[in-house]
Amino acid sequence: MDRGTEAQKYIWEGAIPLQIHLHESEVTTLPPPPPALILAPRIGYLPLLVPLIKPFFSSTLPPGVDTVWFDYKGLPLKWYIPTGVLFDLLCAEPERPWNLTVHFRGYPGNILTPCEGEESIKWSFINSLKEAAYIIIGNCKNVMNMSQSDQVELWCSVMNGNLEAYLRISSKLKLGPGGDEFSVKLNSSSSLKSRQSALETDTTGPVKTGRIPVRLYVWSVNEDFDDLEDAPHIDNWDKISYINRPVEIHGEDKYFTLRDAVKTLLPEFFAEKSLSDDEISMPEVGDERGLPSEDANSMRSAEEAGETMCQRVESCCPSDNAEIKLLRIQGIEPKLEVPFAWVVNNLMNPEHFLHICVYIKVPEPVAM
């Protein structure tokens, strides 16, 4: 039975300590309620925490119907982005605990898509899983034809962070290897075939294993900063470019790295320079010491590595060019020469998308 890789376990157990404050406009009692301290799973979604948070604030809320949403320093948080990705993206320098504000009233429907509680989140998850399936195998029949009980079990495994249950159900979808072989080639169909499971339904049409579901969040910064602590705050979603484009892998034998993947997503950035693999020092993913909450040590080393990387980039590219300040996946900055297959198999989220956060410094203001 597949119990998942070390890295997968760390990610599934990974949580972000949150300190949640009720927005002052919804405080009707004195003294105001103290903030709620809670651990939010990385792979989870913020509204799923509402049943845990509500008791802290229910006695002070003004009358009305709950339409819960969160903000970070005034930026309304998109509920359909996994909590860990929000944290990686919006906290350049990880803040612990992460101070969020919760609102039970006044949903900003012009900015956020409505959330009707768990049902909305579940369907957002299933629709993403369908999208991923379509990218990987060219149709979403396996997801559409899931039995009701499998669907429920899969969703519960994600909500409860039960990796083993998740692997048991998701293996039926045949969306590719979830194994720990470091050298698994994504474009070899044999890796798919080796994971036949009890419920066998023939996939029709050609198996397209050369497309990998990736959601890329690019934050372009105009100001320069040496330290992530000094990174400006993201106060508007328009500053983030969201690129929802699969990574396409061509060529059977090529050793396809994370750098190659990023290159296909941000071609212009890599157009003129060639970063040499061995000169960029980044923390080893495998060295991560996972803890239920994020490991401060790995973060420190990641930050140092980020600086090393910046120096390296600066020294090899013309000053009028954009530069990558940071590339973060699941809270870590993997080496760019790590095989992309390893990154995908170990660091993807349960809906089979790899979420990559990138900070790019651009020389002049960009009209977005």
Binding site: I111, P114, Y242, P246, E268
Partner: protein, 237 residues
Amino acid sequence: MVSNQSTINFSSWDGTLSSHEFYLAARAFADKWKRFNPAFPQWSWVPRPKLPWTAADEVDGYLSLENVFLPRSTEEDHDKINLTGEEGPSCSNMDEPIDNATLVQNYGCELHHYDFHILYSSSYRVPVLYFRAHCSDGQPLVLDDIEKDLPANSGKVLMESKWTFITQEEHPHLNRPWYILHPCGTSEWIKLLFMTEASLSKGGVAVEQYLVSWFSVVGQVIGIRIPFEMLNNCGPL
């Protein structure tokens, strides 16, 4: 999949198209729309602002048709739609004569403005219809209101598959919630659509025809019919 002559070869085609083909098809669709629907609001191509890290030759953008009036229909025939531009709103479908003095108060929400965008989905490799609607007073319409404007059959499907037919998602270029027709089945029905056409005998069809055929189906979901001549005419190829 697609040869240099921008024709689709059926032998290995899976009903999808590349982003560049989408661009070609979109331009062709807008041109054709103009030719056959000169009196209607026009589709225009909105390019995505150039970002410093995107490839120079990349064509990223979407087709846009905005401010289409869909007067709230109280009649059985939901299929007919009054396609008029902002300049000449003809509200002739109203059963009751409109008293301008009370228009704002009583009929302020009768006219529904619709914005339609056609975007390319890199995941599904097909076009996706994005839309939003608001009343004359600027109040956005929720799906329940929109449902009443849709042809009866669409409303039925909507009830049956709440989460998989029309969903509210973020417009990737505008960062705001829009409604979308879910694209997961598109390549399947597009393939069927093209296979049964006369073009099968020719062994292929022009990429330029893709969006016209696509919209002939998708348009019906939202109640917009395209002129038959538009479908019939296969263009310069």
